[in-house]
């Protein structure tokens, strides 16, 4: 069997807020979690490396402040990485480091290869625009100029995420949290991205709506073979969705492996604590 090529490879991704100082740049630096007490620099992601493969769901767990969201925002170019490399097989055959490309190329990658669903729908949607327009916006960004086509695509996506047709022209601000999240997913999928980034998409939703969203994510993966990175602090969500899981703490990956192995045979002290906290 041939060696499988990842669709996304991240190598040594680091993101810090602040310039650092002689104290924290020292090799055996002493940080308070990921924070330098001397110069107040926050090391949000530290040398994060992983691979994502075609059609798989990769889980990322970790407590608040462990760097999960910063990692996702860096992958979607919402944040500029401090250092590190990223390669997409669907962009220049994986030869160019996406983080050092021009902002124009980054926009292109973001509009054609990536889809992002934020924990907070306010970040992913224009709340005053209709749901259709929200979805069309992403398609326009991806270069589509055919209005009828975009309309049809938007409608079929909204149907897919079970938003009734008669509410498709309504603005998401009128919708419930679960519906907003589903519109966001429809928007993220509208340019047929091979990679979807999902940041705490079920957090704050009630259990039955959460089940709807999980169902939707799973069916998207099955039907369209899209690769996904699912960030959640909810281990049950990760167990349902992901074959492989990464555990982050203080900006670093402290453990990674098969999801059931991470949950049943956790190696790191922190992962053990996390698993013991599972209800």
């Amino acid at each position: 069997m041939m060696q499988e090529q990842p669709v996304l490879s991240i190598r040594q991704l680091s993101k810090q807020y602040g310039d650092g100082c002689t104290h924290c740049q020292h090799e055996d630096m002493k940080l308070e979690k990921n924070f330098c007490p001397v110069c107040k620099t926050v090391y949000a992601c530290r040398s994060v490396s992983f691979d994502l493969y075609r059609g798989e769901i990769l889980g990322i767990v970790g407590e608040s402040g462990s760097g999960k969201s910063t990692l996702m925002k860096s992958l979607y170019f919402d944040e500029t990485v401090t250092s590190g490399e990223g390669y997409l097989v669907d962009y220049e055959n994986g030869h160019n480091n996406i983080f050092t490309e021009s902002s124009q190329m980054k926009r292109h990658i973001r509009n054609t290869i990536l889809g992002m669903v934020y924990q907070n729908p306010m970040l992913g949607l224009k709340m005053d625009f209709s749901s259709m327009s929200n979805i069309a916006e992403k398609q326009i960004a991806a270069g589509n100029r055919h209005v009828r086509q975009m309309e049809e695509r938007s409608l079929s996506l909204l149907q897919h995420v079970k938003i009734p047709v008669h509410r498709s022209k309504e603005a998401p601000k009128n919708f419930s949290g679960g519906m907003q999240q589903r519109v966001q997913i429809a928007k993220a999928m509208s340019n047929n991205p091979p990679i979807l980034l999902l940041d705490e998409v079920t957090t704050g939703l009630d259990l039955s709506v959460q089940a709807d969203v999980l169902d939707l994510i799973k069916s998207i993966q099955r039907e369209l073979n899209i690769s996904m990175i699912v960030v959640s602090h909810d281990l049950a969500v990760i167990r349902m969705l992901a074959d492989r899981t990464i555990v982050m703490l203080n900006g670093e990956i402290i453990e990674h492996g098969l999801t059931d192995q991470v949950l049943e045979d956790p190696q790191h002290e922190y992962t053990q604590q996390l698993v013991y906290s599972l209800l």
């Binding site: 492989r244 098969l258 059931d260 192995q261 190696q267």
Partner: protein
């Protein structure tokens, strides 16, 4: 088919600052199409062996050599997580006493999905799933309901149906008959016999020694590590 060599597994529990040995120098072999039964007291490490083969547990030392269709001879402890994901889907099945399902997935969808995952066409997958459910006496009225409401026995049979329907080359059975009544046990036994006749390799843990009789080609007896020290 599968050879385990000097397998060692211990669990380090950080908050107790203790390491508990679970397996010490386990070596065993199962031939293609064979059925190995593992017996031993509770806590002697029977399940730990199965979970190590399935890579739910990560042993500290040893080898588990598996003859894979896709990868040839492969040490499961050295295999990448992606390789294990593939093997779990296509070649190695695992049946435990517990059922873990997506919320709001019906029994029929669950079994069908496990076939779709390995690339079986939709129509055929549904047909085969129905056949498997019927075989394990899961009544038709249960097919479109959610397994969360099933009885223990029904859940277990559904679990077995899910694993067996894919006809894995190696099937690991972790006390699959533990909470079943006699009639259901007979059903499970029938299926295992059928799988064996088809050439499936099996490793199973059963408390019920009667159940294993005439089914296993070999029996591997586990001893608790603390008992071993007493003997020595």
């Amino acid at each position: 088919m599968l050879t385990i060599h000097n397998l060692q597994k211990s669990f380090t529990i950080h908050h107790l600052q203790k390491t508990f040995p679970a397996l010490e120098n386990i070596s065993l072999h199962v031939k293609e199409g064979g059925f190995l039964g593992i017996v031993g007291k509770s806590g002697s490490g029977k399940s730990t062996i199965l979970k190590s083969i399935y890579r739910t547990y990560m042993p500290q030392a040893g080898n588990i050599i598996f003859h894979s269709d896709a990868y040839g001879e492969i040490d499961l402890l050295q295999a990448t997580t992606r390789q294990i994901v593939y093997l779990r889907k296509h070649e190695i099945g695992y049946v435990s006493q517990f059922l873990n399902v997506m919320p709001r997935t019906t029994a029929l969808e669950l079994v069908t999905q496990s076939l779709l995952d390995v690339g079986v066409e939709q129509q055929e997958a549904i047909a085969r799933a129905k056949q498997a459910l019927r075989h394990f006496d899961l009544e038709e009225k249960l097919w479109n309901s959610y397994p969360n409401n099933f009885s223990g026995g029904e859940k277990l049979r559904l679990n077995i149906a899910c694993a067996i329907v894919k006809e894995p080359r190696l099937l690991l059975l972790d006390e699959p008959t533990a909470s079943l009544d006699q009639a259901s046990k007979v059903k499970v036994r029938e299926s295992i016999e059928k799988l064996k006749a088809q050439g499936t390799t099996l490793i199973g843990i059963f408390h019920d020694l009667e159940f294993m009789e005439g089914l296993c080609d070999d029996v591997f007896t586990m001893m608790k590590i603390s008992d071993k020290e007493v003997l020595a």
